[in-house]
Subunit: 478 residues, 2 copies
């Protein structure tokens, strides 16, 4: 049974064939006629390079991490090979370097101010005024602080309670620049409440509180849905892809598509693409720019997450550490805040919200919380079983009531410990819910179930966002 | 002889009495009448808090660093107590947090645009236009990357050759924003060369090369003048204080001082302070703003370095690690570049330049280079002696010539190894030069000699900058 684990093989031909594609996308904005979205081309090209760099660097640096004592054992395997930990640092470094290298493409005069003097291909978005550079830089700063704190967490193993405010520290540059630039703190009031508050309400400092809580949520909710190979990375990847899909709805495209949402009862039209004045942006240049901003952050995130998932997939050759969760969570918070679609963003976190709400009785001490809540690995069968929380003393009436409700909803399995006679419950995580309902399964099947759930959640999110949002908001306000 | 080392005692009364001073400086810009330099008040206040935080946090976090295996033994002591290493990370975190918290003071509308509506006390500098925010943020970003890479160097122990380009990576945000903002790449030609090049010459990309080399130099030159308690920190502190003194010459003050440099043969007048249009800024608002920018970065650096030196002083309770050298070096590069006084800045690095030039034969392999070149500690006498580089094979003619010159200049002691008959030389560092010329001494005396040299270097720098620069440049061009 003394298996060992070699590095995952890389197909250099396949990977290197991506190089010319990436290079072409980077060079294209410099050539006449100018493409409609020059910086978008560059972002796409850089993301391809980010993917390639991650795929190559993660295995190359694994040994260095192990030497620096940054490694862990895979608890859900039969072998004992040390697996390098905190490799999210490599992803984060590549990601942030790409974001920095992107600065001249989005903000320099060469690309932005020369539009008038060059032949153009259709409609060209002169992406960013110089003032937006400060917002962009403050976002990178927040991401870098999140990375740094994530890595410090991995090195110093910070306690759970001390960890919670970390994302708030990382949001400080974002918030202060938002403040210095006199950012909008108005909130659109949902239709049913307008008789009370009017259409717009200025929530002032509460808006800043909301923004820092958003980053805390997005960071920690990915971090607690962890423990099996590929879980953190795949969540980050799917949420990023969902955000990208949503962003693409707002861009001007050479073609237009109209989906007859009004047949479902919606008042809003649902148009994708088409020239200026069409698409979901409804002719708002600002909205196009916001979603471009979001794309610039999400495309390279997909690049590094996809590259890392290749090595993090079952059986994992590298662990992400907290660093990756902090990075991805902060990236989502950044785009949600800066591109003003935090409500839509939260919809993409449905499985994480479910997992967090379900975890509350353990997080707040009603139910005992073991250090690891990951499913239990059975060496004989090679399958994962739900892990259990064992009561040391009889539970309170409140706890018993909660457990009974959860048990009725088939979210946990309740049993009695044969020795102590006290109740036992499966741990309150979405992973255990899957195992309770679908039976024991292999680790890679479980992560596939998680991925399917995340994708289903995103489909649902789109349905709610574009099918039902008219119940609460006017069609042309987002 | 089994000594141990307890933490250095803190005088809480003295430290806490600084709190109201810092708080007052922070609140003052909010009160009428507005002080002449409101953001300068805030920077000073924040620096005091940075000092207090560093003094308290460094000993408090030492244990955590030791647990995370970030510690070293003091090679020049009789005891073997593990000393926490990389505590520069704590300094860097406090420093960067302070720089971020400073953003609203320098850039928000509350402080900048309300000037007209508030009563003012004399001349008020409405510090920064919003566009400068991008420059400020890119500087913080570079500092944070330098910190991160410095810490990674401490954790992963990167090899010497791989380390060299690290500061170049950290300068990327600085350079790209400089480029995106169409930064000036003109250089003023020294008078003796003007017949050839004219007064101003646009050096284009060479300017970017110069900027990244500047950061490489400032970072590594502090890093190689290390090895005894307090050496890195005190260098950083004295250079920062010199830069501050230089900056202060350009600010408008309520009084004016004129120093009769013309008596020494200079054509330039040397005026300090006075209202707008006087002082070294010669009425250039831009020059005042540049030197304010520099002060905003240097004041908190002095705060954290002074706080850290308290614990790093002989016998050291904490080591800075590479992190502090990277941070300080990058901070000097940032102000030199952004405030356009890189030549003056280099003058403050005279001892470092001397040390670097002297080290070249060892760095480039002409003379054997042991892993540590720090002076040798003699346990019997408690004194430091020059450490030696021992030749394994006979030196080349070139090496012999160089060593003879250095020996004649009393920079090294040459001797013959009694066993092999091959030559031995004291290591080529400024610390060994002190020991060769002044004889063996205690570690704290040696660091005091180093500090005196650094101060003398700065005095000389000021003399050259303001006494002799008229030979090369017009008086009113800086």
């Amino acid at each position: 049974m003394a298996q060992t684990l070699g590095p995952r093989p890389l197909s250099s031909i396949l990977l290197l064939s991506l190089v010319p594609v990436g290079a072409w996308l980077l060079v294209r904005p410099l050539l006449d006629p100018l493409p409609p979205l020059p910086a978008f081309h560059a972002a796409l090209g850089l993301s391809i390079f980010a993917f390639i760099a991650t795929v190559y660097l993660v295995p190359a640096l694994g040994e260095t991490f192990i030497k620096a004592r940054l490694f862990g054992r895979d608890l859900l395997k039969t072998y004992d090979t040390p697996i390098p930990e905190s490799l999210g640092l490599v992803c984060a470094s590549i990601y942030i370097l790409v974001l920095i290298l992107f600065i001249p493409f989005a903000f320099s005069d060469v690309f932005v101010n020369d539009y008038e003097n060059r032949s153009q291909h259709g409609l060209v978005v002169a992406e960013f005024p110089h003032q937006k550079l400060a917002v962009y830089l403050s976002s990178i700063l927040s991401l870098l602080i999140a990375t740094m704190l994530g890595f410090l967490d991995d090195v110093f193993d910070i306690r759970w309670r001390h960890k919670l405010p970390i994302p708030i520290i990382a949001t400080i540059p974002l918030l202060l620049v938002y403040y210095a630039e006199r950012g909008n703190t108005n909130v659109v009031v949902p239709i049913p409440l307008r008789w009370l508050f009017g259409t717009l309400i200025n929530v002032g400092p509460l808006y800043y509180l909301y923004m820092s809580l958003l980053s805390t949520f997005s960071t920690n909710s990915i971090n607690i849905l962890a423990g099996i190979n590929g879980s953190e990375t795949s969540q980050a990847l799917i949420i990023a892809l969902s955000v990208i899909l949503n962003d693409l709805l707002y861009l001007p495209w050479p073609f237009g598509v109209q989906i007859p949402v009004h047949l479902l009862g919606g008042h809003a039209e649902f148009k994708i693409g088409g020239p200026w004045g069409a698409g979901m942006a409804y002719g708002s240049r600002e909205m196009v720019e916001r979603h471009l901003f979001s794309l610039y952050f999400m495309l390279p995130l997909v690049g590094v997450c996809a590259g890392f998932l290749y090595h993090n997939w079952y059986p994992a050759r590298a662990f992400p550490g907290d660093t990756l969760c902090y990075l991805a969570g902060m990236a989502f918070a950044v785009v949600g805040i800066q591109a003003h679609f935090s409500k839509t963003l939260l919809l993409f976190f449905l499985p994480q919200i479910f997992n967090f709400v379900l975890s509350c009785p353990q997080l707040f001490g009603l139910v005992p919380c073991p250090r690891h809540r990951v499913p239990r690995f059975d060496k004989e069968t090679g399958l994962l079983y739900p892990s259990k929380a064992i009561f040391e003393k009889p539970p309170s009436a409140l706890t018993t009531a909660i457990l009974n409700v959860l048990s009725t909803l088939r979210l946990i399995n309740l049993s009695k410990n044969p020795e102590t006679g006290l109740p036992e419950t499966t741990n309150l995580t979405i992973l255990n819910v899957f195992l309770v309902n679908l039976g024991p399964m292999k680790e890679d099947s479980l992560v596939q179930v998680l991925i399917s759930t995340q994708v289903t959640g995103s489909v649902l999110a789109f349905a709610v966002r574009y099918g039902l949002a008219w119940l609460l908001y006017d069609g042309n306000r987002r």
